[in-house]
Amino acid sequence: MTEAAEHEEYDVVIAGAGVNGALIAKHLTHAGFRVLVLEAGPGSAWSLDGYSRHLDHFYAAASKGPESPWPPAVAAPQPDTADIRSGAGYFVQSGPDKYGSSYTRAQGGSTLHWLGVCLRMLPEDFELRSRFGVGHDWPLRYGDLEPYYGRAEHEIGVAADVADQAHHGIEFPDGYDYPMRRIPLSFSDQVLADTIDGMRVTLEGESIALQVRSYPAGRNSVPRGAYQPVGAVDADVDRHDMITHLGERCAGNTSCTPICPIEAKYNAGKTLAQADRGKLRVLAQAVVSKVSVDPVSGMVDGIEYQRYADPASPRHTVHTARGRVYVLAAHAVENAKILLASGLGGDHSLIGKGLIDHPALYAWGLSPVPVGAYRGPLSTAGIEDLRAGAFRARHAAFRFDIGNDGWRATTGGPDSSVVDAVTKQGLHGTKLRAHLAATLPRHVRFSLAVEQLRSEANAVTIDPRHVDAMGNPRPVISYHIDDYTTGGMAAAAEVARQVFRQAGIEDCTDPEAGGWFPSVRRDGEVFRYHGMGHFGGTHVMGHRAGESVVDTHQRSWEHRNLYVVGSGSFPTMGTSNPTLTMAALALRTAEHMTEALAARQPIRQGEPSGF
């Protein structure tokens, strides 16, 4: 069976309609190139009707985890955090530690359920090896990416004030500011800032002052100047402007993860809707299974994909799409999986190797005064001061996320607290109500996200014994959390205790009482951690072919008309959430592709730049 997309000629074929794929599609169509986007999951989130069905799914879900509004299609399974405990599910975890993160395979990708924190990486994060003698340096410096960070902040629509963000060596050009004003700090942030700001902690002999600092967020607030906030997408309306007015400002729904009901939070569907749609074709329910390489030239000559009609069934047909240039933008794990399933790389290849995350600890407690928990964007501020410092020569840096969602993530509050009050404490009636009114607004939660260094032993591989319903490989994950990271965990847990003491917060951190999380040990101390959804390192970028999979334009060393994009290209991730950095890289890649395609140079293997 053939279909229209097979007969058409494209300049660019992109696998994946997440933030990376969408940004590249937007820019290349506006540069005049014809782009085909193949998306594994359903496209339902692209219309308001479809999106509201996802919302209903969330309301009615018994467990309201990150994946709850986004049930996967049989043809495009995805990891689920609940699977980590059961050991079942999409990932095959071969240990020794459990990889705790998940992603979403639906059009729009993982930004459908992300939180939207948009921190830049610190200048020192790009130079870990030269400054601290650990990890790796990037082949790029902060200065190389700075202009693209600014553009990425405007593409995503980031709310923040430069005045808050210029620290740890982060510099902005004169006159620059974010497209929207910072999101107001929550009442909880303000209460904590009152007691915490200025307190000092010591790491490896270095005294560091702490401060509650506003987060840059991919979430609509009050625009600066002429910036027009981008609202919800509706593919069912007039095809020339799919962007609606809904969600032009955050309304405080307190459910950014897993679903913003009004799309005030950025998702990649917004970027895709801004492409030149005369030049764009998006095929949802099309799972890319392999890239095909011409054995003589080494060039990619087609992408094989599996099309399915019914998300509840694995029945599908197989097709091939062709273009001049190919882009894998299917997420760090899926990119590696597609390359491996295509038989590319060979024995010494780095494909799939160097998988990282931000393993994170929770700390939770009861504030002495109400902080107004369970209201507002899930997090509006953090403690950023421990992201940088000389201690990085000894152990990992870390970052505190201050939650506005009470104990939801840690124990399953408020439900768990209600159940506890009724069944364990035996309360009912006005006593019950008064007890809850006196305690729920005092719930405080920190996430302590810890840096992880690249190790080639941490890897995504495939194994013919483990396949999904379509016969595609499931990711087999080897993962170990080393001493550098557990050292950071120990320091982070200690700082959390000090902060709780300083603020008079009763420490209720008790992993046994909380949700189930995997554990890792250090010197007899057990740390329960969870993943932050920050995958990285599976197709690492570098200066030279033997030491990396892609160059600084995320262009494959071996197959010069293939780009492999996303956080898989990161040699290290510092402590910043990865999406803004990958968006900056994607914009840089799109610029490079535009020049190279426009130059119409014949594509030759081994050329350092240009096709």
Partner: protein, 201 residues
Amino acid sequence: MENRIDRFVRLSALLTGFAQLHLLGTGMAETYLRATDAALPAGVLDELLAAGSPPSAGSASPGGPALPGAAARPGVSALAGGTDPEAAAGQAILGDAKLGPVARTLILLWYRGAWTALPQEWHSAYGAAPRDVDHVVSAEAYQAGLQWDAAGAHPAGARQQGYGAWASPPAALETESAPGTTAVRLPRQAGAPTVTEGARS
């Protein structure tokens, strides 16, 4: 004669600490009554309602309003001879091996909008109904959960409080379920056009 739904709401008010009017204002009373009937063996709910009603409920106030403004709650206060009706309900019901677990599940239903399955031992002793499994009653029930009101907050993903409301202190927390308590309390900052950030930020 007080009808079944009235008796259900009156008992629910004693159990949850929210006024009957507030409970009716959630719009969930009938749905919960149905959900409860479906999840319990026949007759158990009526037994619970009977235990929560004064012996004279039928004759004392024939046709009388069981609702709003019914400041003098007849119900269990009569049963307990004038002591605190809530404490009386506690004695009569929550301590009971058969009715206690059902009443606790009912409290959780109102607070969470979700049914919590009764314990296995309860099933062995008193029988099981097919719908007695953990489940969110409906999308509306989730949003109507009293836990969010108790917290001075709003259900995650719904009934949002408006831009910047999170920067203000939580709404005053009413614990008094006095007559006249409004059924649906508006969040303090709803609709506030501009929000100034705290001076400390």
